[in-house]
């Protein structure tokens, strides 16, 4: 180095460039996180093992619909296609899905310490929570709405003429959508709220599964030992029964007399209130937990 | 007889060879195991500690196979690299547990002494989960020293320690070595081992690249020129004079003096004083500038 250069000191331009392009804001961050979480809910973008559970459950959810449409097509008996009962069949799988995937969305970030990475972006903690919630609900919508739309189109295809059948049937799309949204919200809320308490994915899986197992068993037991008005209200504590009641109310269908929901004979709005209540509690719990992380 | 002996020891995992046909002997004193990340240092140390069996060859500790009975651990201790220690225990409880598992009669007393040795007395009754990384390293070392082992193996023990803690630990290890303990330390930070290790094992890509005292290794590296920095009363004149010497093939004037590169160490050291006296220059300082562990290491790694 020459004497002159040593005296002055130079900084060489190695070509490092600052990013001068457009910086998309918070809204974009939320949307991106939503999209990413939605894909994670199906194991996309992860290894093969991560896809196993979600894909299997999707399969099991669609299967009753496919079978029914198939049989209807073969025998021509349209009456077999009954939307109101469908969700009831797949309730077990929906619960399993929530138990399996809610931890993937919420607990992996806690377990591996990547939550701080998210929050150091223009993403607030509440945004994070909202994005995750929407993602899991949307994923569950695929599981609830998808098969029912399949049933719907099956019904159309079986009919003799397409357009008149559509005109007759299109109104059922509203309760289909409503029921699916309600069920998705319910299971997503429960899954996320319980998962947020756990420090490892495994424990979160167990917590959600344990919750469903125990509430079913305990409420069923209480149902059998209570009577009168109290017995009717006990029905509101069981997640699957609540979902059934809600769906029946939307479809304006009398539940089967022998079923629990049928015998409870509660005004349909009650089920809606319970679902909204559960969502509200879950979101509050999540909000309280994640609010403190906004540092 | 050496305490630790590797006889053509190899270890592979499927297609990946972690340790490749390594043979060496380690005796009392401090031996450094040096090498870049992924060189196989941890694998070798775990084999010596009896946690891994060699895929071929033998690993002998104190005359017995390393992967032997649990009794061998009465005189051996390992400080693993992973910083995980049971978080729900206090430092004192962890060290005392270590002592109890060793079957010491006075576990509490031994634990107290070990904790005092690593200077952790003020924090010993706090849960390990609240410790800093350096403190966790120290509590692991305390757990290893509690039964005064004859063989002490440390895997990157100074990770996360600040300089003051490091110096203190080095003192502790020197003390242990002076009492006859065989200490093996692995590191990829050369400064740590420079002052500490009497001899080194240099590992590169699973093979043993060199072993012994690093100054001796340096002397053996004859195909690499030696460099000396000479300060004198007239550097420029000295540079011109010394250039005439056949053993010198490079001369550079720098701030610290004349930097001389020579291929023949012996001849240069004989000729330099004569050249200086003939030119009427007084020599003030002669420093070999590349006998540090770093230059040895760089050379070995890049070979």
């Amino acid at each position: 180095m020459t004497e002159a250069a040593r005296a002055e000191g130079t900084i060489y331009d190695l070509g490092y460039q600052r990013y001068k392009g457009q910086r998309l804001g918070r809204g974009n961050a939320i949307r991106t996180l939503f999209g990413y979480s939605f894909r994670t809910a199906f194991g996309l973008g992860r290894g093969e093992r991560a896809k196993l559970a979600p894909f299997a459950i999707v399969l099991f959810c669609f299967m009753p619909a496919v079978v029914r449409v198939g049989v209807a097509m073969a025998t021509g008996q349209v009456a077999l296609i009954n939307y109101a009962q469908h969700l009831e069949f797949t309730a077990f799988w929906l619960a399993l899905y929530a138990a399996s995937q809610a931890p993937e969305l919420i607990v992996t970030d806690r377990q591996f310490g990547t939550l701080a990475l998210y929050l150091s972006r223009p993403l607030r903690a509440t945004d994070y929570m909202v994005a995750k919630f929407c993602a899991l609900t949307a994923a569950l919508l695929i599981l609830t709405l998808g098969p029912q739309l399949f049933l719907f189109s099956g019904k159309l295809l079986v009919a003799e003429e397409l357009f008149p059948a559509f005109r007759a049937e299109w109104r059922t799309l509203l309760p289909i959508a409503g029921g699916s949204i309600g069920a998705s919200l319910l299971f997503a809320s429960i899954g996320l709220a319980l998962s947020s308490l756990a420090s490892k994915r495994n424990y979160a899986n167990a917590a959600v599964i344990g919750f469903f197992l125990l509430t079913s068993a305990i409420v069923a037991m209480f149902y059998s030992i209570t009577s009168g008005d109290l017995r009717r209200y006990v029905v509101l504590a069981h997640p699957v029964w609540v979902m059934n009641g809600f769906v029946n109310w939307l479809f304006d269908v009398e539940a089967r007399r022998r079923s629990v929901v049928g015998r409870a004979d509660l005004p349909g709005e009650y089920y809606l209130y319970v679902i909204l209540g559960v969502c509200a509690i879950a979101m509050t719990a999540l909000f309280l937990q994640y609010r403190n992380r906004d540092e | 007889m050496s305490v630790i002996e590797l006889r053509r020891a190899s270890r592979w995992y499927g297609n990946v060879v972690a340790v490749n046909d390594m043979s060496c002997e380690v005796g009392p004193g401090i031996t450094g195991v040096l090498g870049p990340n992924g060189a196989g240092k941890t694998t070798v140390l775990h084999m010596i500690a009896g946690l891994l069996s060699p895929s071929s060859g033998e690993v002998i500790v104190n005359g017995q196979k390393a992967l032997g009975t649990p009794e061998t651990y009465r005189t051996l201790a390992l400080v693993p690299e992973r910083e995980a220690v049971h978080g729900f225990l206090t430092g004192f409880e962890f060290v005392r547990m270590s002592a109890r598992l060793q079957g010491l009669a006075d576990a509490t007393g031994a634990a107290r002494r070990a904790i005092a040795l690593v200077d952790l007395e003020s924090a010993q009754h706090r849960k390990v989960a609240t410790y800093s990384k350096g403190m966790r390293q120290r509590v692991k070392i305390a757990g290893a020293l509690v039964h005064s082992p004859r063989v002490l193996i440390l895997d990157e023990p100074f990770n996360g320690m600040d300089p003051r803690q490091r110096l203190h630990m080095m003192e502790v290890l020197r003390q242990a070595a002076s009492e006859g303990c065989t200490v093996m330390i692995s590191s990829h930070i050369l400064e740590e081992l420079n002052d500490l290790a009497d001899s080194v094992l240099v590992m590169v890509a699973g093979r043993l690249a060199a072993s012994g005292h690093f100054r001796e290794i340096r002397k053996l590296m004859t195909d690499r020129p030696h460099t000396f920095t000479v300060r004198s009363s007239d550097d420029r004149l000295l540079a011109a004079s010394i250039m005439r010497d056949a053993s010198v093939f490079g001369v550079e004037l720098g701030d610290a003096g004349v930097v001389v590169r020579t291929s023949d160490r012996g001849a240069f050291t004989r000729n330099l004083p004569r050249t200086a006296r003939d030119a009427g220059i007084s020599l003030r300082e002669i420093l070999p500038t590349d006998e540090s562990l770093e230059s040895v290491f760089t050379y070995l790694v890049n070979r």
């Binding site: 125990l214 030992i225 209570t226 | 651990y73």
Partner: protein, 250 residues
């Protein structure tokens, strides 16, 4: 004769059982049936039979769900937690036989399971005052809990050593396999279900059979099958730990 365990390893495992948040899980499991019983006394019909409630509570909830869940939590903690956190090495480089490490951890895990489930049996029993619920029933229930804990914990300790996803596998076993087995009619199938073993032991005294139902599995079968399960699972666990090798960063 010296106990076939190592006291220090046992002490460590005991401390581990309740570390992190597990203490809350333990409390929840222990007290949930009590809460349910309190609710029962508050809201149930006067005509509702206490014995019927108690039977369903103990069979379905305590023995059927809480017992395997507790054994799962504490059994998998014994090993899976350590291997994952990287702290298992401290037990392996000590002059302690590896088989003792296994037995010590297992014993503490099984004991913890029993201690956590015992309140789930006793507190509801105390809260109910039906004359038919004698102490003998509570005692046989505890015996069933003990047998179930011993067997379930052995299985989950082994699973913890075998797989990182141990917990999920154990969970699938509990909800899937055992539920299917116990609901199926085949008697043969019932002989494979630990839940049925526990229940049958609980039902084995005269009083208990009246309240809880008749045992489905004969005592002999339980004794033999149970012994086999215990020996095989612990044997494999010991063998596995003896061969356990700690590589870099694993």
């Amino acid at each position: 004769m010296e106990l076939p365990i190592n006291r220090t390893v046992a002490w460590l495992t005991w401390r581990q059982m309740f570390a992190q948040r597990r203490i809350w899980v333990a409390a929840g499991i222990a007290l949930l049936p009590a809460v349910v019983t309190v609710l029962f006394r508050a809201v149930a019909d006067p005509s509702a039979e206490q014995t019927g409630f108690f039977a369903v509570l103990q069979r379905e909830i305590v023995l059927g769900t809480l017992l395997p869940l507790a054994a799962l939590v504490f059994g998998t903690t014994a090993f899976a937690g350590e291997a994952e956190d990287g702290t298992l090495v401290y037990l392996l480089v000590k002059p302690v036989h590896r088989w003792r490490v296994v037995t010590s951890k297992y014993a503490v895990a099984a004991l913890t399971t029993v201690l956590v489930i015992a309140p789930a049996v006793l507190v509801p029993w105390l809260l109910l005052d039906d004359a038919a619920l004698t102490f003998g029933i509570a005692r046989s229930l505890l015996a069933g809990v003990a047998v179930g804990a011993v067997l379930y914990t052995a299985m989950f300790v082994l699973v913890g050593l075998l797989s990182k996803r141990a917990f999920t596998l154990g969970l699938l076993y509990v909800i899937g396999f055992e539920n299917v087995l116990s609901r199926s009619g085949a008697v043969g199938a019932k002989s494979l279900s630990i839940r049925e073993f526990a229940t049958s032991i609980a039902q084995s005294t005269g009083d208990a059979a009246v309240v809880l139902g008749a045992p489905a599995v004969p005592l002999d079968t339980i004794r033999n099958a149970g012994a086999v399960i215990l020996v095989v699972t612990l044997g494999i666990a010991i063998w596995k730990l003896a061969r356990y090798q700690l590589a870099e960063r694993v």
